[in-house]
């Protein structure tokens, strides 16, 4: 948005935030397509995980994750 503000320092500071977001998202997406889901369809859960920041993955891990596995 404002490239002149994006110094290396700021980028470094943004990193953990992006890591939490992307990390959770990728972690959940892998779970959705590798292990399957409960309550809603795979596509819907993927959409929720991608579109709803933070709360999406949280909701998925609480109610959408398949628990009768392994």
């Amino acid at each position: 948005m404002l490239p002149e503000i994006l110094t290396t320092e700021i980028v470094l500071m943004l990193l953990p935030l992006v890591a939490i977001q992307l990390g959770l998202m990728v972690f959940c997406l892998v779970k959705i397509f590798k292990e399957g889901v409960e309550n809603l369809s795979k596509g819907l859960w993927a959409l929720i995980v991608i579109c709803i920041n933070l709360l999406g993955p949280a909701i998925f891990l609480i109610v959408g994750r398949r628990k009768d596995l392994k």
Binding site: K67, D68, L69, K70
Partner: protein
């Protein structure tokens, strides 16, 4: 081991148990028979100390289960109708957790013994959430044995299983009998009872309608009827000869098969002699018995 007198239990206006009396002795394999909704699970949850009765005494293992607060004080093992475990634990972790719940230390040798006994040693490291119904049932039986109880309550251990799973469970119950344990188990599958029990109680709509040793019940229900089958249809004059025998009351013929109503099953000898004297080829010769199914239905229909 179990002595229940005048047990009553209401759910709102509905009386689930009506003056239930039971008596189970040490070493018995007791079959608690009743159709769905008869009150079997309700009775067992009271006897295990998990639920409270309205009135009555229930001595279990020398203690009054109707009054105990902690089910574990009764020193029993219990397999619920649909045993629930933490889905996220493995079978081995589940058994360790239950063993440690009693205040004992983890004992890997014992845990392995149980896993092996119930045939789950290969799946011991898998999460219980992925177990089949039969595997959960076997894990449940192992869990019931974790504190070495002398008395076990098994609520419908074989009912929800396929024939193979049922066979596994019945084998385990036979093992329990051989270990000298007392087993109280409920079921509506009567052939299972006939295979392993020595005593039965029949519960109909919350009331005990019959309780006795299995052989006594079977004895009482032997009918003096013989079904005899021959390789060729019997001629009329031979049938008349049979009817002339002293102990025979009536004969009905169905092609190659005849049905002989007698005065008592002492008549078997004479019938046997008759057929061998006449040099007739007997294919089968059966004393007809009411099986548990018939007895049960008869008791249900009396009500």
């Amino acid at each position: 081991m179990i002595n229940v007198r005048g047990l009553n239990k209401h759910f709102g206006n509905f009386q689930a148990l009506k003056d239930v009396n039971l008596n189970v002795e040490k070493g018995d394999i007791y079959g608690f028979i009743g159709h769905n909704g008869a009150g079997k699970s309700t009775t067992i949850s009271i006897l295990t100390g998990l639920a409270k009765a309205d009135s009555g005494t229930c001595i279990v293992n020398g203690k009054d289960a109707c009054k105990t607060v902690n089910p574990s004080d009764l020193g029993i093992g219990y397999l619920p109708e649909d045993p629930s475990f933490y889905k996220w634990m493995t079978a081995r972790e589940t058994l360790i957790y239950l063993l440690e719940s009693s205040g004992k230390k983890n004992n890997p040798v014992k845990i392995n013994e149980i896993l092996e006994w119930v045939g789950l040693e290969e799946s011991a490291g898998r999460k219980v959430g992925g177990f089949s119904r039969g595997m959960k049932q076997r894990l449940g039986i192992g869990a019931a044995l974790i504190n070495d109880p002398q008395l076990l309550f098994l609520d419908e251990p074989s009912s929800a299983l396929d024939p193979e799973g049922r066979g596994d469970v019945l084998r385990l119950i036979k093992d329990l009998r051989d270990m000298g344990k007392t087993v109280f188990f409920s079921t509506h599958i009567l052939s299972d009872v006939e295979r392993i029990c020595n005593k039965v109680g029949i519960l109909v709509n919350g009331r005990i309608v019959k309780e006795d040793r299995l052989e006594v019940i079977q004895e009482e229900n032997i009918l003096p009827i013989y079904d005899i089958e021959t390789d060729i249809a019997l001629k009329n004059n031979i049938v008349e000869d049979i009817e002339k025998l002293k102990c025979v009351k009536k004969v009905q013929t169905f092609d190659k098969r005849i049905q002989v109503l007698t005065e008592s099953h002492e008549c078997g000898k004479e019938l046997y002699r008759f057929f061998s004297d006449k040099d007739l080829n007997v294919v089968s010769f059966n004393l007809r018995k009411n099986d548990l199914e018939d007895i049960f239905l008869e008791e249900v229909n009396k009500k």
